[in-house]
């Protein structure tokens, strides 16, 4: 299988804590990967490095043969827009925008015309099963629906990989399961690479691979 992300001797210090400590691994195209570990083990930090939200202190990340650690902040923003989708535990929607607009947010700074933008947003909404709530506002949606909007927003640019940091953490187990099934089906059906942080062992079990972190390092694979 071809490697999408290659991580070499990656380290990141936050304050006085070595949040990520000399990690090396790789993720293949089309994989569904779970990252697990105790609270404070560095899962979120690792995910933010992989997705280009933060820069590493040492080591190297090759994303599709691009060294993202060397990019400027603006280049990283463009990299994120083009290549990755990110979903957080809190849904992080813009309260003044309705569902389609929230989904289309990553396209706002591009030159794409309005019609095409709306078409893309609608298609993305459909892929997460949100066809008929398009003109609702975030405060009118349930938690599960809000997370679907966040996923649809992450998918709008056809990313190579979707990073999800405890995407079910704020949801009850039933809704969480639905979200998980959605991520699974995206992985199976369109071959989307998914890297997901989760505490839930039953969720981790359905993944192709688990990366276990402890004190910033990899425990075992």
């Amino acid at each position: 299988m071809n490697e999408l992300i290659t991580v070499k001797e990656l380290s990141k210090t936050l304050g006085k804590v070595k949040a990520v400590n000399n990690i090396s691994f790789s993720i293949n195209n089309g994989e569904l990967v779970a990252i697990q570990g105790h609270s404070g083990s560095g899962k979120s930090t690792l995910l933010s490095l992989l997705s280009g939200l933060e820069k590493q202190d040492e080591g190297e990340i090759l994303f599709d043969n691009m060294k993202i650690g060397n990019m400027s902040e603006d280049d990283l923003a463009l990299f994120r827009r083009k290549n990755v989708g990110i979903v957080f535990q809190s849904f992080n929607l813009i309260p003044t925008l309705n569902v389609v607009e929230n989904i289309a947010l990553p396209l706002f700074p591009t030159n794409i015309n309005k019609k095409e933008m709306m078409a893309k947003a609608q298609k993305s909404a459909e892929s997460v099963g949100l066809k008929d709530r398009l003109d609702h506002y975030p405060n009118e949606l349930s938690g599960g629906e809000q997370q679907r909007v966040a996923i649809a927003r992450a998918l709008i640019n056809d990313p190579k990989v979707l990073f999800a940091d405890e995407p079910t953490g704020n949801l009850d187990s039933k809704t969480g399961k639905k979200i998980l099934e959605l991520l699974q089906s995206l992985n199976k059906e369109i071959g989307l690479t998914v890297v997901m942080v989760t505490h839930d062992d039953s969720i981790a079990k359905v993944c192709d691979r688990i990366i276990k972190l402890k004190d910033g390092g990899i425990q075992d694979e």
């Binding site: 933060e54 902040e73 923003a77 463009l78 994120r80 990110i86 003044t96």
Partner: protein, 429 residues
């Protein structure tokens, strides 16, 4: 992005209402201030408009020792008539008219007498103000000003004695009130010149030739007024043989050249203060605006930190964020401006009902200081409707300053957003 900007503003309109209110208030204040200021300045030109003359030339002379018979005011010394042809040949001069203004101390009353040519621009101006009777056809006929006539019970066709000469009242005029050069009696130039020539007291004070005059009106095109007045100054005041000073401080023998501008400077002492106040107020208003806008924008941005984090996370560059913010603020500025201009127009309309009093300098309408009270015909204070108007140029200052304030604010605040790490704001709920 425009759509997002509009939605942001509409959905959180309460937050942005303050900005828009502040912007429109500033526009109203600045436009009203500058309009009032220019209106008061323009008001000082109004007396000139009513006399339809651009430039007035007078000569400064001596003060008479005693006050009997016909005299000239020390600001209206005799001028040789030859000067007229010299002035006429100056570049930019379109018409020259002249007269002889006398103070006549008769035993019964004090009279101001102005001798004119009825067919030049000064004469035509007075002619147009005659409301009873007819134009003096001969030298013994005169026009009497209405207020003076009423105060002295003078009626049409009455015979009155001026400095020992008999005249007949041919008509009454209504010239006082709005004019710089007004008089109690208007006569043909010739008999007034004779009167001056024959006045022993006048000849003791000044040397007066039969053809002398003492006031010249030079008409010039609006754009040439400054040039012509300079030419006049170098033509008339090039000799520096002046000695002594008049009671009002002019050099004896020198010529005073009054243009609307010089006139404005003379009477603007009150308005100069207002100029400074306007400047001060403008600065205070702008600083206040800067502070309020900065605070309110900073507040709005801090509250939206998380949103900016989200935008960055999904691929907005700092430049994209700047565009977004600029768009939002630009919309506020435009809306604030439109509202501000609308309110300004209403305020200016309301203010156009005001009147303004203009104090005319003594030299331009001399009246003996020692006469206890000025008769009402000598109006040194004139009242006009305030010439206030909306000048689109007045929008430029508030527009520029608000735009500069806004963009400076964005620039400063963006430094903070630029440093913002998406992870830090997005990690926690």
């Amino acid at each position: 992005m425009l759509r997002y900007a509009v939605k942001e503003l509409v959905k959180r309109k309460k937050k942005y209402a303050l900005n828009i209110l502040v912007i429109s208030l500033v526009v109203v204040l600045l436009i009203t201030l500058t309009s009032l200021n220019t209106a008061y300045k323009d008001a000082s030109k109004l007396p000139f408009e009513s006399i339809h003359s651009s430039i007035i030339v007078q000569k400064n002379g001596n003060v008479a020792e005693n006050t009997t018979g016909a005299l000239v005011s020390c600001s209206l010394a005799p001028i040789k008539k030859d000067l007229i042809s010299n002035i006429k040949s100056l570049d930019g001069v379109s018409e020259v008219s002249y007269g002889l203004s006398l103070w006549v101390f008769d035993e019964d009353t004090f009279k101001r007498v102005l001798g004119v040519n009825w067919d030049d621009s000064l004469g035509r101006k007075i002619k147009s103000k005659i409301y009873v009777g007819s134009l003096p056809q001969s030298d013994e006929k005169i026009i009497v000003e209405k207020t003076f006539a009423q105060e002295n019970n003078i009626i049409l066709n009455q015979k009155i004695i001026i400095s020992g000469e008999a005249f007949i009242v041919a008509g009454l005029s209504e010239t006082s009130g709005k004019d710089i050069v007004s008089s109690d009696i208007y006569a043909n130039l010739k008999p007034v010149q004779e009167m001056a020539y024959n006045s022993k007291n006048l000849q003791d004070t000044e040397t007066f030739d039969r053809s002398d005059i003492n006031i010249i009106f030079v008409d010039a095109k609006q754009t040439k007024v400054a040039d012509v007045s300079e030419e006049l100054d170098s033509l008339l005041n090039k000799q520096d043989s002046f000695s002594g000073k008049t009671p009002t401080g002019q050099k004896i023998g020198s010529y005073s050249i009054y243009t609307p501008e010089s006139f404005e400077n003379q009477i603007s002492s009150i308005f100069n203060i207002s100029d400074k106040i306007v400047l001060l107020l403008t600065i205070v208003i702008l600083i206040g605006t800067a502070l309020i806008l900065f605070k309110s924008m900073a507040h709005a941005i801090t509250e939206r930190k998380k949103e900016f984090g989200i935008m960055k996370a999904v691929g907005f560059t700092n430049k994209d964020l700047k565009k977004q913010l600029t768009l939002e603020i630009l919309i506020q500025v435009i809306v604030g401006f439109l509202i501000g201009i609308l309110i300004s127009l209403m305020v200016l309309f309301a203010l156009s009902g005001l009147t303004v009093s203009v104090n005319i300098p003594w030299e331009l309408n001399p009246y003996p200081h020692f006469l206890a009270s000025n008769p009402s015909s000598v109006n040194t204070i004139q009242t006009y409707p305030l010439p206030i108007q909306f000048n689109p140029q007045q929008v430029i200052l508030p527009m520029l300053s608000i735009l500069i304030i806004s963009f400076l604010t964005i620039h400063i605040l963006l430094k903070n957003i630029g440093k913002l790490k998406p992870m830090e704001v997005l990690k926690y709920e």
